[in-house]
């Protein structure tokens, strides 16, 4: 045994301690098998999205149609957001309680708010870096596959939208983890919620039409269409489409989206387009994009607040 040194010592700054938590969390995330698995899956899907048309065109003998908007309309899917959030945040708080590592951590000179913000920031950085790499990959790939791309300066806006969409699920997972302190319950509740919304929203859309209530749930939202020149674009209003709708708002600031209900009684065999009961209502794209942004921030704020309060008030019994 060697003699100890004299006491170290000045009071460290808030930022020094916060950054130590970020480092602690990031070291964990980059070594998580789940996270590495999700990154691999994301790259496999992105590659398939890029390469599959080439494979199909070579087998059918038809040339690939050039798509100059591929890069700004190719974002992650709802399930992609959920998977990234799951891999990054599902056990960020709960496993600290389950494994007992919360005890040595909270007996260091760091507050629970620092721990919470450090974990949140680490999740933000990890997802941001993953998305930057993924979007760079798909953007470069889309130029090779679909030819020169328009409006590449808007790719960061799609990325930002996707990041916000992902953070709705990150905040839900952190809140559940902080409340239950149990990873299995956290995952089951979040997965149940995701699947309920994933299944319920299309069913509601078909039977009740593009209800306004769908705009206030996380997910795809209501479905409508926007006429741009001679092309009709499908617009989904929900938080999952935030990135694409922000781009649409920038490109077509005065665009209007019309919403119609599918006329189930008029569907006949062999129809290529679904019959509708006529236009129910119209909304400007600006309202759709900014409302989705507001709804997303409201969810993120509420669930992060729940997560923070639950962690602050926890009694450490482990």
């Amino acid at each position: 045994m060697t003699a100890m040194q004299q006491a170290t010592g000045t009071r460290p700054s808030w930022f020094t301690r916060f950054w130590a938590i970020v480092r602690y969390e990031m070291l964990w995330n980059i070594r998580k098998k789940k996270f590495i698995g999700v990154i691999i899956v994301a790259f496999v899907f992105a590659t398939l999205g890029l390469v599959l048309p080439s494979i199909l065109s070579s087998t059918t003998g038809t040339a690939i149609t050039a798509d100059p908007n591929f890069a700004i309309t190719y974002g992650a899917t709802s399930f992609g957001f959920f998977l990234f959030a799951l891999a990054t945040a599902m056990n960020s708080i709960s496993s600290e309680f389950e494994s007992g590592t919360i005890v040595p951590l909270l007996t260091k000179p760091v507050s629970r708010t620092m721990v919470f913000l450090g974990k949140l920031f680490a999740a933000f950085v990890i997802i941001l870096v993953s998305y930057v790499i993924l979007f760079t990959y798909t953007t470069v790939g889309s130029i090779f596959v679909y030819g020169p791309q328009n409006n590449l300066q808007l790719v960061p806006l799609v990325l930002l939208g996707n990041l916000i969409s992902t953070f709705i699920w990150v905040s839900i997972l952190l809140a559940m983890g902080s409340l239950t302190k149990n990873t299995i319950i956290t995952v089951l509740v979040a997965l149940g919620l995701f699947l309920s919304l994933f299944i319920a929203i299309p069913i509601v859309s078909v039977f009740a039409g593009p209800s306004q209530s769908l705009n206030y749930l996380p997910g795809s939202g209501a479905g409508g269409s926007m006429l741009v020149g001679n092309t009709t674009m499908t617009i989904n209003t929900g938080t999952d489409n935030l990135g694409v709708n922000l781009v649409n708002y920038v490109l077509y600031p005065s665009g209007n989206v019309t919403f119609s209900k599918i006329d189930l009684s008029a569907i006949q065999a062999g129809q290529t387009t679904l019959p509708t009961t006529g236009v129910l209502y119209t909304e400007p794209i600006s309202l759709i994009a900014l409302r989705a942004l507001g709804v997303a921030f409201a969810y993120i704020f509420v669930f992060l607040f729940i997560a923070w309060i639950a962690l602050k008030r926890s009694e450490i019994m482990e």
């Binding site: 045994m1 100890m4 010592g9 000045t10 460290p12 301690r17 007992g100 000179p109």
Partner: protein, 314 residues
Amino acid sequence: MDYAIETDNLTKNFGSLTAVNKLNLKVQKNTIHGFLGPNGAGKTTTIKILVGLLKPTSGSVKVLGQEVHVDQADSRLNIGYMPELPRFPKHLKGAELLDVYGRMYGMTQQERAEQIPKLIESVGLKGRENDLIGKYSKGMQQRIGIAQALLNNPELVILDEPSIGLDPVGMVEVRELMKTISKEGVTVFLSSHLLFEVEQICDHVTIINKGSVLASDTLQNISGALGPAMMHIELANLSNEVIAAVKKLPFVSGTWKTGSTLYIQVTTYDDVRAQVSKEVTGAGGVIVGMSQKTSNLEDIFIQLVSKDKGEKPQ
């Protein structure tokens, strides 16, 4: 007097269960203070309140002169704490864990570079510091736990059962380490079930049961309270007649029992086993085993806890 730890009527309830009951604990600075009690006595709950993990139901706590509140980060700057059976993130390497904790204490890169290798060597983990903690044995996790408790060169080190899981060599090394840091002016507050360990290294002792202090003093004063020697007699069947017969002996100052074992406090250093044996046998007792030794902490502990359980001295 300056205390490293001072509690005033500290109470902690979990629903209807009172884990800590109006505990008044005083730990002098620059001492090695043993904190003893049977299982469920409230030791770990008390320690968790001291380090700000649990909020007391009532009463107050001062550590190093500062009031302790839950989630008060700065109050832990000069405290090192090792929990009972510590668990650390499995994805970190031993040296990485100390590095990241060192950053939380605000240690500079140079301080970490000097301190971490020394601690790794002190706790016997040299050569294994770059292994993931997930690959550490229970004893190695205990060793890294001790290292992280000493990382910030604290004024106060709180160790909850530091010897659990350590091999005999490791236990000796940890005791030596505690003595070393104590000589350097660090206050050590040690919770342990190993009474011989406490007896070897502590100069002050507090014994608690049911969340309250039963005794708190220097080890010398506590040991002196029982008299020079103790006899343990294990009987096939311990009857009141046997106890009454033993109590008549002039050198017996007190007796108490735990199960079929009779503890006799004697006021002499002479070997009185033959006389006691004669009285016990005469009263119909059948002796299975008998020993006489100088009073130790175990005797005090058993006496105090037995008394507190309602097994009053005879």
